[in-house]
């Protein structure tokens, strides 16, 4: 039943996410809000993956697969974004080499 309590706690994070976005100072030209919201989302997702999906107690192979998918996402995001960033006229120049 620890799971139950944990979930209620996690569900609260959702409301917290909504409230945190209202009075947060607009630092780094508004990026901070997105960062906080995303951090909360990552924490929630991690809790769901580890506990609900039993990854914490799974075989090493399963854990490798989960880490591999995250790793793949990181590669895709970082490489594509770095490609766009190094194009001239970022961020308004779309498709310019």
């Amino acid at each position: 039943m620890v799971m139950t309590l944990l979930t209620v706690y996690v569900a609260q994070f959702d409301l917290e996410g909504m409230f945190k976005d209202t009075p947060v100072i607009k630092s780094f030209s508004g990026v901070l809000n997105a960062l906080v919201a995303l951090t909360i989302a990552v924490i929630k997702a991690t809790a769901v993956i580890l506990i609900f999906m039993h990854v914490r107690w799974s075989s090493r192979l399963t854990q490798v697969i989960v880490v591999a998918s995250v790793f793949w996402l990181l590669i895709m995001l970082s490489f594509t974004i770095s490609d766009y960033v190094t194009r001239g006229g970022w961020p308004t120049g779309l498709g310019e080499y």
């Binding site: 919201a37 929630k44 075989s59 998918s69 995001l77």
Partner: protein, 207 residues
């Protein structure tokens, strides 16, 4: 079991590509995305998020009871999960229909978001807002399709459990369906702040 995880990995790639598109376009059109996000209904989206998180809980309970061999509780929790999933889809239906009525859906008559009124969009922002709405409908639409598939899976599970096919030793279908359901929930957990909460702090009542 491993097969389901590999399938989920392909799903990560599927949704990941869309999240990438969101990231790029959001960086290029920050104002448009801010504006577009205000067009969405945050309370409904928030309700849907809570609905999904609770449904993940009930799904986990269903898996737990399938491991215990408790048929009654298993069917009970599977049914609750199914009902919550359907509630999510119903709320989505209301969100979509209001968008379609406001001519904000990418179809015939879409390319005319008005310049004034409660959903008015200033002229120079219209193309970025269209991009935002495209991405919104694409991502939530794909997610909704996954929810429908998940609902079908749950119905199948309920029927199988009703016929008494699950025992303490054989409950794999319930477990791997649980994995699928949790995955769909995780996707929404990321979708919600990115799509709905983008402009939340700027004061959604200002427009």
């Amino acid at each position: 079991m491993v097969g389901m995880w590999l399938f989920l990995l392909t799903e990560v790639m599927f949704f990941g590509g869309l999240f990438l598109a969101y990231t790029i376009y959001r960086t290029i059109y920050p104002q448009g995305f801010l504006y577009g996000s205000h067009l969405l209904n945050v309370p409904l989206g928030g309700t849907n998020t809570v609905v999904l998180i609770v449904s993940s809980l009930t799904m986990a309970m269903a898996v737990y009871y399938s491991q215990k061999g408790d048929r009654k509780k298993l069917i009970g929790f599977l049914t609750v999960t199914l009902l919550l999933g359907l509630a999510f889809l119903v709320i989505k239906y209301f969100e979509y229909s209001s968008k379609i009525n406001d001519h904000l859906f990418p179809a015939v008559g879409f390319y005319a978001p008005v310049t004034d009124g409660p959903h008015g969009v200033p002229l120079e922002l219209q193309q970025p807002v269209r991009v935002f709405l495209w991405i919104y409908f694409l991502m939530t639409g794909l997610h909704a399709v996954h929810m429908i598939v998940g609902a079908g899976i749950l119905i199948t599970l309920i029927l199988m459990a009703w016929k008494g096919k699950f025992t303490k030793n054989y409950n794999s279908p319930v477990e791997i369906s649980g994995l699928y359901w949790h995955f769909v929930d995780i996707v929404w957990i990321f979708l919600f702040p990115l799509l709905y909460l983008t402009g939340f702090h700027v004061g959604s009542g200002g427009h």
